[in-house]
Amino acid sequence: MYEFEFEQPSSVADAVAALKAEDALALGGGQTLLATMKQRLAAPSKLVSLSGIGEMKGVSNDGGAVSIGGATTHAAVAAGAGAYPALADMAGHIGDPAVRNRGTIGGSLANNDPSADYPAAALASGATIVTNAREIAADDFFQGMFTTALDEGEIITGVRFPVPEAANYQKFLQPASRFALVGVFVAKTGDGVRVAVTGASEEGVFRWSEAEAALNGTFSAGALEGLSVDADSMIGDMHGSKAYRAHLVGVLTKRAVAAAG
């Protein structure tokens, strides 16, 4: 790892100011960024730790929505987001306990790893990503693997999840990495059903609109019979072929619908 300057501001305003330095990067839990820096794939001049910003931590429950500070750890979401059980359960199955004690929701969403869990939860829930500058709908936030709508130096200060009528996340574990080989988050909301798929597409997290249309007709696993995603656009690697991932998308969506009830 190359040497860098370290700053730990205690307010969002100070963090935004500190991130104006050339090649400065935000540090959440460091569970992705520190490994990237060790490999010298990132070499920031300065790290601005968000972990000292009290206003960016915690889970609150206000009128049908769960709001989570951008620097809240996965463990704190697992323990505190009981008002949205499928979300708390998802957070409680990220990586392992030590990773969950450090990794944050803001870091996960900003990173937008194509196999990460939070992007599926945010997209299926129709969450709103709140930054120091604006509010971004999940539908506009994810822009392909490792790419988001965030501008340079923009900080995710919080995320607002409307609590759906029913929801479930099915993660098919890739046991070596602890990430999802494929994960499907299904949420049934007042405005319709949303199905978000992670781990599968070369474009990163996506909504499976054919499944959503079928489930808007009848919310049952049977309604998905005969539907499949196009295997050509799936990720194919040593852990699973394109066809296998496409198959898993169908199976996991059915399981999620059955479990959501």
């Binding site: 460091g30 569970q31 990773v99 450090r102």
Partner: protein, 161 residues
């Protein structure tokens, strides 16, 4: 260089570190606490697990400056001053929960964190909790048995493997 001060195993520890100094390097190279092992250095194996403010973390994936002001606990602080093992360590010894011992500091620190939150875990709870701790020797069976025993559960019926 930045001056950091933290409490390590109940004692004040100070030192000058670079921004990039990992907590694991600070513990091992500056404080000489080499019980915290480095297996992978990429947050996969859990050999480096210590507690920071009571929570299990992988010290290879946390900066020393981030632990400034924190209470840190490592494997060196687990036994009594005279060397008497604590209940978890003793259970590992009694149940053959280690072979080469490389993963053991991380296993014991993870087990300690688990039992603090869940004093009577099931076998499934233990296996799930240890998902980030890799052991190349034991096949995990006797580690799980050790933790069941440390939590006061009867392991007499579980065969050694």
């Amino acid at each position: 260089m930045t001056q950091v001060s933290m409490t390590v195993n109940g004692q004040a520890a100070n030192g000058d570190v670079e921004g990039r100094t990992l907590l694991s390097s600070f513990l091992r190279d500056q404080l000489g606490l080499t019980g915290t092992h480095i297996g992978c250095d990429t947050s996969q194996c859990g050999a480096c697990v210590v507690h920071v403010n009571g929570e299990a973390v992988k010290s290879c994936t946390m900066l020393a400056v981030e632990a400034d002001g924190a209470e840190v606990a490592t494997i060196e602080g687990q036994a009594a001053e005279d060397g008497t093992l604590n209940a978890i360590q003793q259970a590992f010894q009694d149940n053959h929960g280690l072979q080469c011992g490389f993963c053991t500091p991380g296993m014991v620190m993870s087990a300690t964190a688990l039992l603090k939150d869940n004093p009577k875990p099931s076998e499934a709870d233990i296996r799930a909790y240890l998902s980030g701790n890799i052991c190349r020797c034991t096949g995990y069976h006797n580690i799980v048995k050790s933790i069941l025993a440390a939590s006061g559960q009867d392991v007499a019926g579980i065969a050694a493997e």
